[in-house]
Structures are given as C-alpha cells and as structure tokens.
C-alpha cells in the first residue's frame, strides 16, 4: 500500500519545476498553555533543537527548493531565527527559505488566502505545519500526486499524508482522532470524520453501496502535511468559510459531485512522521527522537545552527560539549543533556531532556521531564513529568509533581510542593480577548497597565509557590465559538505519559480517556465560580444519619421559582402537546427570565421531568413504579429536548448530578437510581461514557461531604454500572441491548 520507493532520478523533473513548500508556523490555538505566550511554538526546542528545524530538515531532505514559512503569532522571532540559521547561509542546503509575516491571520485558511493573493505558488506544493517531525521523503508523495493529476485523476486537488498508528499509539493526538474511508484501489478519500468521544460513527450508506472496495481506517494519524495542486489556494479564496485543512477536506468531499474535485491519501508505513500538537505529543515525540525512531533526525546527527557536537552513549544517553557531571550523579536511560550544563552530585536523571547551560544542584531527581536552556534547579528538588522553560529557577527543596509547566523565567520555591498539572508563568495573565474572560472573576484578571502592577504582586501566591517566587497561575482560555469543531481539552499529558503504570484497574485505553474527561470536569467545576458544589458556604453541620453526610452541603442550590416554573411549563407542554423545538425555546426563555445559569437548567431538567411524570400520575398518590413508567415514556418522547441540553459530557455530568440530588432529596427514589439512569440511557440522553466518567469521579478530599455524597450515590448506582460494564463488552447494537435488558433490571 505504501508508496514504494521508486528510485527514479528526479533531475529531469527538477529542472522543469521548482518544488515549493508552504510551512504554516502557527497552529492558531493555545494547546501549549503558558509556554507559547512568549515564544512561538515553532521555536520551542524539541530535544534541544527548535521544532521548525525538524520541519525544514524534512523538506530539505525531500529536495524542496523553495520554502515559504508563514508566521503569525510572534512571527518576528521566527523571522529572526531563520535569518540567523543555517538555512539562510546557503551552505547546508540549496533550499531558499522565505518568511512571510501576517498578524491578521487566524487560521490556515487565511494563510492560504494570503498566499493566493501574493500568487507565490506555481506548481504542486507541499503544505505542512511547522511542527512536523518526519523522516519521510515527501518528494515521493509529490511524485505520486503528480502522476495522479497527470494521469487518469486530473481532478485530484490534494494528497493528504497519514501515518499508520494503531489506536492507543502514544503519538496519536486525542484531539486529532479521526475515522476515514478510503477507496481501496484508487486511494481516494471518501469520507472523513473527526472522532472525538462518540461511540458510534455513522457513515452514509451510499459510500458502501457505490464503492466495491472501501477501507475503513481508524489506524491513522493525521500528519497535517499534504501535497496540493496549485488550485488549492484559489479554492480557499473562493470559499471564505474554509478555515482549516479539515474544513477544506470536508467541503471538497461534500461538493465532490458538483465540483468534481477529489482528494487522495497516502499512508506512511515504515517511516516516521508525527506532529507536535500538544504537550502529550511533545512528550511522545521527544521520546521517539531520543530512541532514534526519527533517524537521521536524532540528537547526535542533527543539530541546530550552533554546530556543537553531541555524544551518543549507551542506553540513549546524549551529552553535549562541556557537560559537567559531578561525582555520584547518574544519568539513566534516554537522557539528553545540552552543552554547558552542570549537574550536581547525587543527582539522578532519567527519561528527560536537559537544555544547554542548565545548573542542576545536588541530590535532585528528574524524571520524564523537559528542561529548556538556562534552567536552574537548586538542591534537593524532585521534578517528575514536568516542563520547565528557559530561565526557570527552581529554588531548593521544591517538589514538582506530574504535569507541572513552568513558563519562561518563572521562579518557584523554596520548600514548596506543586500539585499535579500546575501551570505557572512569570507574569500575571493578560486577557487576550478583553471582554471575553468573565469567568475569571477579577482574581486572575490582570488589566494592562502599571497601576495594577503592585496589586498583582500582592496576589502572587507566596503560600503555594514559595517565599521567593515569581509565579502566577495560568488558566487556559475558554475558547470562543468561532472555531467550530475545535474542542478545548485540558493538558493532561502527564496522565497519558504515566497511565500505563498508574492505571491498574482498567488497562484499556478508554479508561485514560475517562480519566482525562474526569479531570476536565473536576477542573471546570473548580474554576467556575458560579457552579459552587462546595460545602463551605453552608454553615449547618447537619449530617443525615441515613446518608452519612450532610445533604444540604452538597446539593446544588436551585432557584425554587425557576424550578416551579419549569415544571409548570413542562406540564403545560405535555397537556397542550407543544412541539419539542418550541419547548426548547420556552425553556430558554425561562432561563433568561430567571437569569439562572445554564448549569442549573441542565441540572434541573431531569428532575423536572420526573416531577412531570409524578404530576401525570396524579401527583403524590402515585406509586414509584408507575411514576417511573411515566417517566420512561416522557423521556423517550422528549429525548430531543433533553439531548439538546445535554450534548457534551460536561453537561451530561451536570444532569447526572441533578439526578443524584433528586434521589438524595426524595428518599423513595433512592433505590430506583439505576432505573432512572437506565431510562435516560435508553432514551439516548445520557451516554455510557459520561455515566462511567461520573462513576469514576473521586471528589477530593476523601472523607469530605462531597466525597461521601458521591460514594453514596455510587453505591446506589452500582447495579446499573455493573450492567453497563458487562453490556459494554457486548456489541453496542440496539437489538442486543434489548436482549440484555432483562439482565439489567
């Protein structure tokens, strides 16, 4: 299947055409959190070499002659870097590198439109992001594309490059999970779907009917590299709604019959290609580089412009020049140490990358971590699975737990412990979008200007980050809706880096997904000031003896008037047979009338439907089973309404907690919690994944009201969860679910 190496001399071709490449040195997102605030991602060092060098090297190796590097965010830095790099002196390669700067671009589509406006493209060209690490010969793909366009498939506009990677591959980026269909013989792309966490992937049946040979791929990873026909920038110009390559691909596929344009694909089988798209893949790819999968792009053969020699020792230990290893210090497997670094005695380092000119004190333990240049770590520190940018200073006796990110020039310590996933930066966070960040409640909000500077100094949390710290908490921006299908995931790279060891219970890759989601929801819950499930405000210490915890402290306070009105609306909707979409409108208007947050609406909805069921069954006199039966019919009838509010896992979790609160309040329903779940599950309102995520949540600290409350509900829901987990192993087709129902109830 792979494009087999045809050793045809390309000389004849070269003389006719100049092979061009466009490098988009920006990814238009903030996956790297605080790290990319000061330095563009393309310049981040990956194993001590700026990322863009990997990309340019891959292009040079593919005999590309002209490269346009398109930079937006902090583009000056990239231009400056390339100006002084080996790419410009002409000695190391015949490739000319031109940097294009644009501040107005907010997407790949914009960049291509600009390129079209400048009409820089003359032939088929390679479009690539500035964070690709690859040792593939792209010219073969270009050749393949050329043969296709000159041969029978003239309408092919693009050949997408994919890398073979089984599900669970460490370099597979969770955000980029996708599912696609390829036509067997022609390698044509038939269908493309980003697969986030849905359990089913519907494809139009016509694809199966019309094509005799279709290959279903879930084993691919998008390299974000493609070979485009010269028409592609024009197509972008014609369609202003094409923002990303993905939206372009989708657009082409949908309009295939009208426009006649086709997209083909090429799969890399035995070479390396991966994209540094977030911290998790940064981690995975760094390790691949150290383990020499990317040869010749390995530390000892491929350096940055500074022509320093790197020595390669056994067990993948690489040392630069002038490294000072004190007595008693040890370097474990897979370690890269940059030139000029001093490592103190009794210090152990393993599976890590240390930049140049770092100072590491005595008795320090560094594991799975990445230190950029000029990092200073003082004595007795413990760094685990963390990323430390240049000029970070970690004072003595500091423990960095998994997933810490310390951005440029941050100082922490002495004698503090940073929890999992702490992201710190040396300056207070600025709002990039001034009016957007309402959720920060002024605490982290740092209006520009010197006047507030002192105030901010005060807010520097010396208690958590040490007496001499210069550190501010970084909060990820909640991205606005303009990027349609981008879903912001929190950086929980440390989980995937270690889940193989830590995850004893599940073992399957799904569980790491769940953990991640769980992490998300926990953090969201913590960050949102309004959604206070916390117990601190309630002074009463009434512990319900039957429950073993204080119920009042845990329940989400719901506006009683709103709730009453909501139930009334539902009753009216039921009696007047109001259409589902109108009901949604009514509920929305209620939300505005009572100014309740959306969380609360979602939280109340399941309960209000149960109340509706109660009312239909003649209110209080009704027996629990009959109410449940009514609830079942109602929820299947209004499932579209419920689904409208509970689309993603977060809102589903809210809904589940709503049901939880309901059963805590209504004693007679406590034993019925499994049925309630089952009903909503059958109505396709709640997905299996989110129920499991909810179930696996563990509110901290253990022993608190919240934890007790959760474990109480967990116990109630146990039967349903067990059923779910056994049913999960069955095929998820509907007819079987029905078979299984008997067991479940």
């Amino acid at each position: 299947m792979a494009p087999k190496a045809k050793k045809q001399p390309h000389e004849s071709l070269k003389q006719e055409h100049v092979l061009q490449a466009v490098v988009i040195a920006d990814t238009f997102n903030v996956r790297f959190g605080p790290v990319t605030l000061k330095k563009p991602r393309a310049l981040l060092p990956l194993v001590n070499v700026p990322l863009i060098d990997y990309t340019l090297e891959a292009l040079a190796a593919s005999q590309v002659q002209e490269v346009f590097v398109f930079c937006c965010h902090l583009g000056e830095q990239i231009r400056e870097y390339i100006k002084n790099s080996k790419w410009q002196d002409g000695s190391s390669s015949a490739m000319t590198v031109v940097t294009l700067l644009s501040d107005s671009c907010i997407s790949v589509g914009d960049a291509l439109r600009e390129i079209d406006a400048k009409s820089l493209i003359r032939n088929d060209f390679i479009l690539i992001t500035g964070n690709l690490v690859a040792n593939v010969d792209l010219s073969q793909v270009v050749e393949e594309h050329k043969q296709r366009t000159q041969g029978k498939d003239k309408s092919s506009v693009m050949t997408l490059l994919f890398k073979n990677a089984q599900p669970g591959h460490r370099a597979r980026c969770k955000e980029d999970e996708m599912f696609l269909l390829e036509e067997g013989l022609t390698k044509r792309l038939l269908y493309f779907q980003k697969s986030q966490d849905q359990m089913k992937f519907p494809i139009p049946k016509d694809i199966l009917l019309d094509h005799e040979d279709v290959i279903l791929h879930n084993d691919l990873m998008d390299c974000h590299a493609c070979v485009c026909s010269p028409i592609v920038p024009t197509l972008f110009t014609d369609n202003f709604d094409y923002q990303t390559i993905h939206s372009f691909v989708k657009g082409i596929l949908i309009n295939e019959e009208i426009m006649g344009n086709k997209i083909h694909m090429s799969i890399i089988q035995d070479k390396y290609a991966a994209r540094v798209s977030n911290l998790q893949t940064y981690d995975a790819i760094s390790k691949d580089v150290i383990c020499r999968w990317t040869k010749p792009l390995v530390p000892d053969m491929f350096g940055s412009s500074s022509k320093k020699r790197v020595k390669n020792g056994r067990h993948n230990v690489y040392c630069g020049e002038d490294v000072t290893l004190s007595r008693g210090s040890s370097l474990g497997n897979n370690v890269v140490v940059g030139g000029g670094t001093v490592i103190g005695s009794s210090t152990t380092i393993s599976h890590s990358v240390i930049g140049q000119n770092c100072r590491i004190g005595e008795n320090v333990k560094i594991e799975n971590s990445y230190l950029f240049d000029n990092v200073t770590i003082e004595d007795n520190c413990d760094v685990d699975t963390s990323l430390l940018c240049s000029d970070v200073h970690v004072l003595a006796n500091v423990v960095l737990k998994k997933g810490c990110v310390l951005a440029w020039e941050t100082v922490v310590g002495p004698q503090v412990t940073l929890g999992n996933g702490t992201q710190l930066m040396s300056e207070p966070q600025k709002d990039e979008f001034d009016d957007l960040d309402l959720s920060f409640e002024g605490k982290e909000k740092a209006p520009d200007g010197q006047a507030n500077q002192e105030k901010m100094e005060e807010q520097m949390d010396t208690a958590s980050y040490g007496a001499k710290c210069r550190a501010y908490l970084y909060k990820p921006f909640i991205e606005s809706d303009d990027e349609e299908d981008e879903i912001v995931e929190d950086e929980s790279w440390w989980l995937s880096a270690t889940d193989l060891r830590a995850d004893l219970s599940g073992g399957s890759e799904d569980s790491s997904d769940e953990e991640e989601d769980e992490e998300d929801s926990n953090e969201e819950g913590g960050a949102d000031g309004e959604f206070a499930l916390d117990s601190e405000e309630e002074g009463e210490d009434v512990v319900d003896s039957a429950l073993g915890f204080n119920p009042k402290a845990c329940l989400l306070k719901v506006d009683a008037d709103f709730y009453k009105e909501l139930v009334a609306t539902l009753v009216r909707a039921e009696s007047e047979k109001i259409k589902e979409e109108n009901l949604i409108l009514e509920i929305n208007s209620l939300k505005h009338a009572f100014t309740v947050p959306i969380n609360e609406v979602i939280h109340s909805l399941p309960c209000s439907f149960i109340d509706l069921a109660k009312k239909l069954q003649g209110n209080s006199g009704a027996s629990v089973p009959s109410v449940l039966a009514a609830f079942k019919t109602i929820s299947s009838r209004y499932s579209s309404v419920l689904c409208n509010y509970m689309k993603d896992s977060e809102s589903q979790l809210t809904a589940i907690s709503g049901i939880g609160d309901f059963v805590v309040k209504n004693e007679e329903y406590r034993t019925r919690l499994p049925q309630l779940f089952n009903i909503l599950y059958d109505a396709d309102v709640l997905t299996e994944a989110s129920i499991i995520v909810w179930y696996n949540q563990s509110p901290s600290p253990p022993g608190s009201n919240k934890a007790l409350y959760h474990s109480f509900l967990k116990k109630l829901a146990q039967p349903f969860i067990t059923w779910l987990q056994t049913a999960e192993s069955e095929s998820s087709e509907e007819e079987e679910d029905e078979d299984e129902d008997g067991d479940g109830n």
């Binding site: 089984q166 359990m199 519907p202 049946k205 199966l208 879930n218 073992g507 095929s731 998820s732 087709e733």
Partner: protein, 424 residues
Amino acid sequence: MTNPGDSTAVIMAAGMGSRMTDLNTECPKALLPVGRYPMIYYPIRTLEKSGFAEIIIITRQSCQAQFASALTPGMVPVKAKLEFLGISDQEDAGTADSLRLIADKVKTNALVVSCDLITDGDLLDLMSVHRKNDSSLTVMLSQLPTAITADTVVPGFKAKQKNNLGEKISIGFEYSNVEHVVYWKAQVDMEDELVAFSKKFLNRFPCARIQSSWTDCHVYLIRDFIIKYLKDKGELSSLQGELVPLVVKKQMSTFHPAKLQEEAGMDSPNGDLKLDKKKDLVDYAGETCNKLSHTIKSLSLTSPNFGSNEDAAQKDLIRCYAYRQTSGFCVRTNTIAAYAEASKQMPRLTSQFFLPKQTAFQNVPENTIIKPKSQVGADSMLGENVEIGEKVSIKKSVLGKFCRVGDGVKITNSVIMDDVSISQ
C-alpha cells in the same frame, strides 16, 4: 470411509427455489438438470473430489423418494455414501432448521454446502483456512463471475432478474489478514441513510477493508458449538441471513467465565436447558475451551494475542474467516439467470466434474440423430437421444434428453430441458 477433518458434510437441498419459480413447479430445485445431471450432483461431486465419503442430504419429506431415485448410482456416477434426511414440508423452514436436524451427528465441524453450488474450487482449501486460523465459522466467498452481472441475456422477465443487487453483501475483512471476516451486512438490510460503526469495532479492527464484490457461496464450515447454539436457540432460521452476521458480530464479545459459573450455580446440574435462552453464543464458545487451553493460548508465541493482557484470549473465542476463491468457476444456480449461465458454461466445465476416465466426454453423445446441414457448436451440449432436423444451428446452448428439434431451427444462448419438441 471417513471424511476429511472428521467433518460432517451436509448438502442443503430443501430449498424451494423461490427465485426461480418458473422452473421448479414440477421438480425440486435441486433436481433441475444442469448440463447432463441434476443440479445436486455438482456439489456431491465437489465434495467427493475433496475426499468426502459420507454425505448427508437434507430434503423436504415429500421429495425424499424423488431424490433417492434420482441419485441412484445408475443415474449418476456417485461413489460417496449418501444419506437422505427429510424435513417437514412447512413453508417457513429455513437452512438453519435443516441444520438443527443433524445437530447431533456433528462431531467437530459441519461442512454445509448448498445444493445449487457449482464450483471447481477445492473444499480442502476452505478447510485449511478453517484449521489454520482455528476458526469458528469459515465461509467460502467468490468473486462474481462477471458474465452474470454484466451482459448475459437472461430469459424471463427483466424486472425479476434485477434482484442481483439485493444479494450483495458488504463484507469487511481485517486489513492485515484478509481471511478474517470482521463485518457482514447485506446491503438490503441497510435501511437508514447512515451505517454506523461502533468505536469498539474500530478500536478492535482499526483498519478494515469492506468489499461488496464477494458472493457468498453458501459453503460454511461450522464448529460444533455454533450448531449446538443453533439447536438451543429456536429463532434463527437462515444461515446466511442471520447466523453468519451474528457470528461475525459476536467476535467482539467477551466471554465472562465468572458470569457463567454464577448462573450455572443458581440452577441444578441440568439447568443448562433452562438457561439456554439467556446463554449467548460466546458462552458456548467459552465452554469449548477450558482453562488450560486458555493458558496455552496466552503463552503461545503463535497466538495472535501473545503478550497482550490476560483477558485478550477471552475476547478471541469466536473467529470468523473466509476462504476467498479468486480463480476458477463458482456459481450458485439460485436464479434463472444463474441457472442459464451455469447450464451454458457446462460444456466448458465438463472435465472438471467428471471422473478422469470420462474426460473424453463428448458434448454430442453418439446416439444423437442429426440430419444433414445442421451444425452443433462446440460450445453446446446435447442430452441423450436428441433428434435434430435439417439446417439446424445450435450455439451456446444446452439441450436436454429426448429433445426433438425440427428443421431450420436456430438455437442460441438457450437452455432446453428434457423432452422438448421444437418444430420448424
């Protein structure tokens, strides 16, 4: 006299021929003549060639005698020991019902062949696929002979013949092992606009190749536990329509030994019968391999799940593979079109089906009476005692026994059965 691989060979001849009703009002589908012999002779011959010595033929009770007389050694050169079993004449009996009848006779595998299969494929190849992969169910697939799909001129009503599309099945094969069948869906069953694949499926088989160019030859090699399951579960009636998709789908299921024990513990020792309704196919599969074989599997280097976690062996209990016949001839004479095609192909294929000593078989038997100026093409086949008049030309056609063809008749692309008179 034993069969290869201790398999039980079964020929399903109880079909009503619902897709060729015009032809089989008088005699059962399986006894319709194709070339010189009844249709059912060909699967018997194929089985014989693969070394099967005992063959069970399942017919309808009413036709049993007819079969027995048609298949006496005098009529057809059959060597294998044939055993006839009749099923009741009820309308709704399907292939799975036929199989239930012989459930007790199956020791290890049952090789189920349809009576309308005419192929030169070697069933031993199918059996090696089965054994190589330790398969639970192996099906034989074949590329459609292009002649049928494309431009055969078909006797009968045009509209009726278009049901070929309805027979198309989308079959998914694992990309790295194309013999492994992972997806099976008849295209007529795709009612919705969307066909959904579950995430579990995609994670289990990350790269599947779905092809619709294969025809199911209705040759199945079935493990005993599936037949046991079939016997206990009453509702399945068709092998192709229900059992095969079910087995393919159940490859995803996991066997829970604990669950089974628990259930068994609740009932008395012979509680198995009561539990049958609930028992899933995978449980049957689980029973066949004990703990030891599980350990062997997880430790074996050749096992597909070597080195993976311990549960893996429990997941791979049901396996469905396919023998994909790519060359040669394979046709199911279940429609008039296919029947006509098969009959016409017969002259070319005779050598495949007849014993070596008969290879010098003549398409025109000696006792044919042909009057002058008539031509019988080499691509035609005549039955015994055919009389042909003057200036007759016969091309690409098959004539049955005792036919009389008048003067000046032209026959092309036709199948003419026994005792037909065509006058001038």
